[in-house]
């Protein structure tokens, strides 16, 4: 009962704030809606018995990624100057609507088999065990990717030699 109430509340929050992210003419407000959307998705994870993932969602998405995007927006815009041009009107509406119809139709028509397995614990310990055993290579690759992106970001965003004031 509580699960469904929370599900509908959170879905309403997520979808309406996502609508605001893509439609809002003020990009700063779009960024704030993005954060609201991330927090809503974190709530969805809580509803799915994964509190750790919810906390990670808040920490990384809402606390870092969205703030980084807002930071980029603030650096690249003149104060309070909103731009609201759009392009590809027809394709932009047609493709997502068709895709939504296709996906929702498929999902509602498909037969989903519920698993007969034992309920698993989505705690941190089981996640950690998984990373240190079966997914070890992928885990190391992600670490490498993070290092590469860190260095890449520094190299790309750095000013040219000698242009430092």
């Amino acid at each position: 009962m509580t699960e469904s109430v929370f599900f509908y509340l959170l879905s309403g929050l997520v979808l309406s704030s996502a609508w605001s992210v893509v439609r809002n003419e003020n990009l700063f407000h779009a960024g704030l809606s993005l954060i609201l959307c991330f927090v809503g998705v974190a709530g969805i994870y809580m509803n799915l018995d994964a509190p750790f993932l919810g906390a990670m969602q808040v920490l990384i998405y809402a606390g870092a990624i969205a703030v980084l995007l807002l930071f980029g927006f603030m650096l690249t815009h003149d104060l309070m100057k909103a731009r609201h041009e759009r392009n590809q009107h027809l394709a932009g509406i047609l493709i997502p609507v068709l895709m939504a119809l296709l996906l929702v139709g498929t999902i509602l028509n498909a037969q989903w088999h519920a698993s007969s397995g034992q309920p698993v614990n989505f705690g941190v310990a089981s996640l950690a065990r998984r990373y240190m055993q079966q997914d070890l290579v992928a885990f190391e690759m992600v670490a490498l990717l993070l290092l590469a992106s860190l260095m890449g970001a520094v190299v790309i965003a750095r000013k040219e030699e000698g242009s430092r004031e």
Partner: protein, 391 residues
């Protein structure tokens, strides 16, 4: 009584109890902030050879009036701010402008729910406790960015930009410093951290001394206090992101600053200084009422000590330059926090293999520290300013 069970379970009453608890925390935050602000002014006054506020409050006994005399000063200030007019400048972006101070207090209250004030004495002992505190308080930067941008003033904007860069950078060493004790405790719950320190027989301060120092420095930067207060540097940016705020909205930012300071210090006290464990006293398995009271007292003493040091630092050191701040965070604290993680992992293994007791662990950690100092002597890390000239 767990937030997640309250959330997914069927009991609505549980949710109501949680709301009541949140109201209690809000009251606690407001009360403790009043005392902390008074303490800050008194400490500042002592350091600057003044007496500080001494008129508003009980002055019956002449010998104590210097200390008790200013006790009600903060309350008087709060009442003054409450009755002041709320000014929303006409060119601001009204919704984020109003939402920012509300958000910063909300975030603070939410982060408080896992703090263990005593044995079995926390609002909700989530099993993701430490991550919860870090995740929720990472939303503080959002409020500052909102305030900075929506004020439509160049000083506010500069403050917001600086704080976004600073808080994102310092979150990384902060979390990595906490990883060492998490590894030792083998769990994320705050009560479990305290109990693990009982089991180890020594505070986690010793195995991860480096981590404690990194956490403390990073948390000063995280709550934007001097010497890392460049987002609100008053000599450069008026008041940074709070420049355009007045009345109660300003008071909420002020309240959140002190509540956040208490929060980071109480996390440090729990994770590194043994939380409510009373030193030199065996811990009963089922805590007696006396022990619970002593535990709460110990917790507050440890936290207040850390808060006092933060105030001491504030009134002693000059402000750090923004580029030096970034250098310190990324080139020193971050690698050192990785080193700390390595030391903690080693000590956890040693404890498991050789069944060390508290003294053994202390000795091992001192040995590890000595090795680190030796290593730093050999490697010779250049100072920040030489780094800059080469760049």
């Amino acid at each position: 009584m767990d937030l997640v069970t309250a959330y997914t379970g069927q009991d609505v009453a549980l949710v109501l109890i949680m709301l009541l608890m949140l109201a209690l925390i809000l009251g606690f935050i407001a009360g403790s902030s009043l005392i902390l602000i008074w303490a800050e002014r008194k400490v500042a006054a002592r350091i600057q050879n003044r007496v500080g506020p001494m008129m508003t409050g009980p002055r019956k006994f002449a010998e104590f009036s210097m200390w008790t005399g200013g006790l009600l000063q903060t309350a008087a200030d709060a009442i003054k701010l409450l009755v002041k007019e709320l000014i929303i400048p006409s060119k601001t972006d009204a919704i984020p402008f109003i939402a920012a101070p509300v958000l910063i207090v909300t975030v603070c209250v939410t982060a408080y729910i896992v703090i263990p004030f005593g044995p079995a004495f926390s609002v909700s002992d989530l099993n993701i406790g430490v991550v919860h505190v870090v995740a929720i308080s990472s939303l503080t930067v959002l409020s500052i960015v909102m305030a900075g941008w929506s004020s439509n003033s160049k000083y506010s904007l500069l403050g917001g930009l600086r704080s976004a860069a600073q808080m994102l950078s310092y979150e990384i060493p902060l979390i990595f410093a906490l990883l060492g004790p998490i590894l030792l405790a083998g769990g994320l719950s705050m009560q479990k951290m305290v109990l693990a320190q009982r089991e180890y027989g020594c505070w986690f301060l010793l195995p991860s001394l480096l981590g404690f120092l990194i956490y403390y420095v990073a948390s000063i930067a995280e709550v934007n206090r001097p010497p890392f207060d460049i987002p609100e540097a008053e000599s450069e940016l008026v008041a940074g992101y709070v420049s355009e705020y007045s009345g109660m909205m300003f008071a909420m930012f002020f309240l959140a600053e002190f509540a956040n300071m208490f929060l980071v210090c109480s996390v440090a006290a729990t994770v590194f200084l043994g939380g409510w464990l009373v030193p030199f006293m065996p811990v009963p398995d089922n805590p007696t009422p006396v022990y619970i009271l002593l535990g709460i007292l110990t917790f507050f003493l440890k936290t207040s000590f850390l808060v006092f040091i933060m105030m001491w630092i504030r009134w002693t050191f000059p402000r750090v330059r923004p580029d030096h701040l970034m250098n310190l965070g990324w080139k020193y604290l971050f690698p050192l926090s990785l080193l700390n993680l390595l030391i903690c992992a080693g000590i956890a293994v040693l404890k498991d293999v050789y069944k060390l007791n508290g003294w053994g662990i202390s000795l091992a950690s001192l040995g590890a520290l000595a090795m680190v100092m030796l290593l730093l002597q050999v490697v010779r890390i250049p100072r920040p300013d030489t780094f800059l000239e080469k760049a």
